[in-house]
Symmetry: C2
Subunit: 767 residues, 2 copies
């Protein structure tokens, strides 16, 4: 049973009623972030029930010592983990000396609302304490987009049936642990604790990586909206500091604490200035004040929604879901810092450790490319460019030579930190996504300069890898790629995974093609690249030989490319015939049974067809879709979106809609019973793709921007916007037809259902 307690609402995520069993799930779903920091929806006040505490600072990680059962040569020594950071949100509350703890109270009118339009989290409730004293509490919290080192909380208590002493105990606590540690170690060292009037700071340092973070808090108080001044008592230990403020509050009066808090960290400031910078930014926040910060927050989110929003009419749940996906993607990555990336759980949990997977290249870049300035996608590409040396080192550890690069499966700083041989060493298709993202970026933005400036070095190193990784099979008189894991991780150590072989061949060809372009048109860059990479004519010939003679498993009978050698030896029983009690197979079956089954975790052959759709006829796409989709269990969050897009392409709108539903409310309805661990951030980009590329039919191959809008019969209309080469195009589709509005000053050529159209500046075209 999936949980579906989230109340449908077009612009907000809403929870009503207090249910212990939903606490950790809601802590994930109501997470907030501003690209630089993030915060799970933990309560400010103490909570003695089950909770998963999480505060995160972008880019700050800890290399946890690898834990394995059986060591294999080449395993990395460390696994970079997202770090639970010092807690700045805490405000304990005592009522006449009695602690407010929802786990011990009778709670009524509990309501949470995450206003996505404005980027603000609200919570309110009435609590009857064991003493029978009743209070009304309301809390408002946001992480500022304008000042990304700042969060602000307004926390108000109103006695309902008594007059008494209300005590606020705001604190910061660096004595936190990760839930996910390999050896139950503490990852932080506390360096300094500072206190002033109504402010406190803790400077702490991550062990090994030596990131320094100053966590700060600064408070003001109000009684019935009038600012008041209170004396404090200090409570301090080696890892935390708390201030106690109390005052007498009459029945019906409201006592409010404003807490400004957040982090300054060593990626952005010199270590010795961290506390000072933290002080400075919190002072600024206090001077601007809570209400003005909140206004700015609304403005900032309005700007984001201006292009990012997708409007769906006739289906509130779908509307809520797509906005939730877009909202979370924007909370996770703002695109201004090429040292950051999009972790699979963003700032909402610790699972999967390190930050960056191939998800970024395969799923996220198109979203950021279409909804933000092209510099954002470029920053994501540059992130990998900056890791090139590490990717070369990584390949060297596995025996590759001569500047071949293997990008890591999971990374924070460019080093591999995953350790399952079948993934770490064999899921090498990820390397292809690095070049595909460049190709995608060039196709979409037309910013060809990226290749001579940055891309080509990455492309050469990856092509070198593919060249060395392929094996010449005498038996086949072709090149084979042995021992890989494809995107479908329910197959390990297979030979000739179609997707991997296809990408390998394509990578080499695309690299060669562009190398000749650069040679012709970018002579200086060409010289620099040749010098740096020592590439020689002979090597290029060898590459070409590998690409030309690449083997692809194919079934004449089925007229499909096979996912890998031997795929047809399996018993091809469709997923629909599996008993429900055996699903999900990754929870019910042992690994060997999964491996020898035909079941596909996520799009594999179809992922390749999706990437290179322009090279396949609709008939071919349909053949492959009809062969593979019935065998796909979609037990990866990244699977349904690709199927939704391809289904729309081949006019299977029912299937496309079914797949869309799976992807869009995955977390809101907790399909996989794991939302408490955090949200599936990267797959949210897939949801966006399902609408824009799926229903909207947007593609950008060969310098053309094409559309083929369709609409699910369950909806009345939908619309989305994209930024494309200086223009902003709004696409609207209902059951009568579609409209294209160019909201920019730049005319744009598009192709709709095969027909070329120029949409002039500010023009509306109806079709």
């Amino acid at each position: 049973m999936n949980k579906d307690y989230i109340i449908p609402n077009e612009w907000s995520i809403v929870e009503e009623g207090f249910h212990e069993e939903n606490i950790t799930a809601s802590e994930s779903i109501f997470s907030i972030g501003n690209g630089a920091m993030g915060q799970r929806a933990n309560f400010e006040e103490t909570y003695s029930g089950e909770t998963f505490q999480g505060s995160y600072v972008g880019g700050v990680y800890y290399p946890d010592k690898t834990r394995v059962g059986w060591w294999k040569n080449g395993y990395p020594e460390y696994f970079a983990k997202v770090l639970n950071a010092p807690n700045w949100i805490g405000i304990n509350v005592n009522i006449n000396g009695e602690a407010l703890d929802l786990n011990t109270c009778k709670v009524s009118q509990f309501k949470r609302k995450l206003n996505m339009k404005e980027g603000v989290l609200y919570r309110s409730f009435i609590a009857k304490l064991p003493s029978e004293n009743q209070i009304k509490v309301s809390a408002t919290r946001f992480l500022s987009l304008d000042f990304d080192e700042v969060g602000a909380i307004k926390y108000s208590v109103t006695p309902i049936n008594f007059t008494g002493e209300v005590e606020f105990i705001p604190y910061i606590d660096a004595g936190i642990m990760n839930e996910d540690t390999n050896y139950d170690e503490f990852f932080w060292e506390i360096l300094q604790i500072e206190e002033e009037e109504n402010e406190a700071y803790i400077l702490s340092k991550t062990l090994k990586t030596e990131f320094q973070v100053s966590t700060g808090m600064r408070m003001t108080f109000a009684l019935n909206d009038f600012e008041i001044h209170l004396d404090k008592e200090v409570e301090k230990n080696e890892k935390s500091i708390a201030f106690k403020y109390k005052t007498n509050v009459k029945q019906g009066d409201t006592f409010t604490i404003y807490k400004y808090g957040g982090y300054t960290q060593s990626m952005n400031h010199p270590n010795e200035e961290l506390i000072f910078e933290c002080e400075k930014v919190l002072q600024k926040a206090r001077i601007i004040g809570f209400d003005n910060l909140l206004l700015k927050q609304k403005d900032a989110w309005e700007k984001i929604w201006e292009t990012a929003d997708i409007v769906i009419k006739g289906d509130v749940k779908a509307q809520q879901a797509i906005r939730f996906n877009i909202f979370q993607l924007n909370q996770t990555y703002s695109g201004e810092d090429s040292r950051l990336n999009i972790g699979p759980k963003g700032f909402t949990g610790e699972k999967y450790g390190g930050s960056t997977y191939w998800d970024t290249e395969a799923y996220c870049i198109p979203f950021y490319m279409s909804t933000k300035d092209k510099s954002v996608a470029k920053n994501l590409l540059v992130y990998r460019y900056n890791h090139l040396d590490r990717a070369i080192e990584n390949a060297e550890k596995l025996g590759f030579k001569n500047g071949a690069a293997l990008y890591p499966m999971v990374t924070m700083n460019g080093e591999e930190c995953h350790n399952e041989w079948e993934i770490t060493f064999e899921e090498i298709h990820r390397n292809g996504a690095m070049i595909y993202a460049i190709y995608n970026y060039i196709n979409y933005t037309g910013d060809y300069n990226y290749i001579p400036e940055f891309g080509m070095e990455v492309m050469i190193a990856i092509s070198r890898f593919w060249h060395q990784r392929a094996t010449f099979s005498k038996a086949k008189n072709q090149y084979v790629i042995l021992g890989v894991t494809g995107p479908n991780e329910y197959e390990n150590n297979v030979n000739n995974n179609y997707y991997t072989n296809y990408l390998a061949k394509w990578c080499i060809e695309y690299t060669l093609e562009n190398l000749y372009i650069i040679k012709k048109k970018y002579g200086d860059d060409f010289k620099r690249i040749i010098k740096k990479t020592n590439i020689e004519e002979l090597e290029l010939k060898q590459w070409k030989e590998v690409a030309d003679k690449m083997y692809f498993p194919y079934s004449e009978e089925e007229e499909v490319y096979l996912q890998q050698d031997g795929f047809l030896d399996k018993e091809l029983i469709p997923v629909s015939e599996l008993p429900k009690s055996e699903r999900p197979i990754n929870q019910k079956w042992s690994w060997d049974r999964i491996l020898r089954s035909p079941y596909i975790k996520q799009a594999d052959v179809l992922q390749g067809i999706y990437f290179f759709e322009n090279r396949f006829s609709n008939k071919e796409i349909e053949k492959h879709f009809d062969f593979y989709e019935p065998l796909t269990v979609h037990e990866s969050s990244l699977s349904p979106c690709v199927h939704s897009i391809l289904a729309a392409k081949i006019d299977k709108m029912e299937k496309a809609y079914e797949m869309y539903l799976r992807t869009s409310r995955l977390d809101l309805d907790d399909y996989n019973h794991e939302v408490h661990e955090g949200l599936h951030i990267t797959s949210m980009a897939g949801t966006w793709l399902s609408i824009v590329q799926g229903f909207g039919g947007m593609r950008n191959f060969n310098d053309e921007l094409t559309f083929a809008p369709q609409i699910p019969k369950q909806w009345k209309s939908y619309s989305f916007k994209i930024n494309y080469r200086g223009s902003t195009i709004k696409v609207y589709k209902d059951h009568k037809g579609c409209k294209f509005t160019n909201e920019s000053d730049t005319p744009v050529d598009i192709i709709v259902h095969g027909k070329s159209i120029t949409v002039s500046s500010k023009e509306l075209v109806m079709l």
Copy 2:
């Protein structure tokens, strides 16, 4: 560089000179055991240098909580570990208050000798202490074969250049740890410490498994061979107890402590009687006395050697090596207790944890079958019979039904305790070895009753497994076995491993064949079996269909069966062309590189051909040998023996001898740089096979005992004995010919080089 400091000697393992860097290796090599307990060659006196302490009690294990990087469904929760048991050998020595510690002394005339003929370990040396006092020390130690709960030590100190006080501090210590723990936990709880006159006992219990062990010591003393009585001081803490005895010793006089020690344990006595039983057996030992115990020890070993010995003339190192192998096998397993088995490290180390691998069935049973009474091999078979229910449970965990059994890869109590999916779940060929061992036992002993009484239930459960594990491939119109790891563990998750498919087919056929025999000839057993297993005609038909239509990968061009599907896609560069710097590949290469290479860790296709050699022509054997041997890196200790045997079979005596050398002195010369972790006990049976089946050409297919003796040109002669169906046959081979002596009263029919001969009682036949 391999270590080769062991001095060649026909009957002894000898080390001369004190070299710190050899201490841990010698601790393994000079290990002693009596089938019920074992002891690494740790010094009695304290040693502050690097040492690996190990005392072991047969059958006593600890289920250490599994440690993995990434959990897979079906993994066992625990890994049964061989336990380091309380230390009973310790005798600290003080000279005028100065501790004897070879790490702080100048040591001369250090000599160790493991007399294999008599089963006794000697050590002697002269130590100059920091004070310049010099002493001569000699220590004699053995674990009694007659009283398998007893060990005895005679430890003598002679002052050389002074007269002074010598203090002996014998102790027992239960405060020991395993070197190999997953979570650095202590595995023992101490229940009781008892002391009497010159005796002490510690009763301790293993956590979780609750084995109880009483460790005891009992001392007597002598000055120049005259027994003396000494008062003691007691030193005791929660986990250990020590007695201090001192006396003045004149220059040139010898002060000796006799320490009788050992274990009684709860597999053999009620818990409440363990201390009493320990007291009793140590008292018995003391009464018999050290010298008489030693005489009995010599007698007992003489009896073992009477049939087990192999005599090689003209090659002292080969002679020493084969005796070392035979000696260690006999130290590890005496064959009297079907609850015990042969761990890969025996009583010489902790590595590989649990006790029993398929090594027992594939390699060890023939050795014990030929050199001991048939009851010993039968006990090893019954061990698995007793674990049948657990093997069925194990298969159920992996999704098999209806009484199918999968025997564990590694076990102590019948439960699986290994946790690498590619081994635990996929190295299923081990199941075949269980039936092969029965077949081998019947072939050799003629004791057919074993099948109706015990074997058939095991055979049915395993055939059920193969039936369910095979997949019908529509593409091939045959049954395939997908996703396995063969004996060659350098390939994982392959399809149609020839060895596995062959064994699966054979298992089913052999089970069906015997089921019909039982139906005809053992009606009562048949009824009991049918009732117990619920086997039905339809199921048997389905089995037969699987066996009849089993697929085997074959290359028409190479005329060989392929190790697995796709093997010919690999680059088949022979091992001889690999640079030395890349060997061993399991230390130099990452796992993916090993997997996609053609290199074979141990005999795989050839293992199958070895098992069923009577079904292959010499030409076929040669084809396969010539194809696979050049690709084999022999990085498993179990590999060279099979190659040696097959090479001899096809007249490649040079290769056979080369392979024999690799297997026979593997530990003595520390080829793999790991002897400090313990000896390779199970592969020692392979060494024995290399001579008896390899050079001697002994086979026992189809109720025939055949020989085809050959001799390596490096040797003058060799001889071995085997027990066969009541007769004892001595086989002698030199360069002139061979002799067969029937030392028993039972005439025996044998076939030598294809010629049938009857060797009558006490007769000598020369050929």
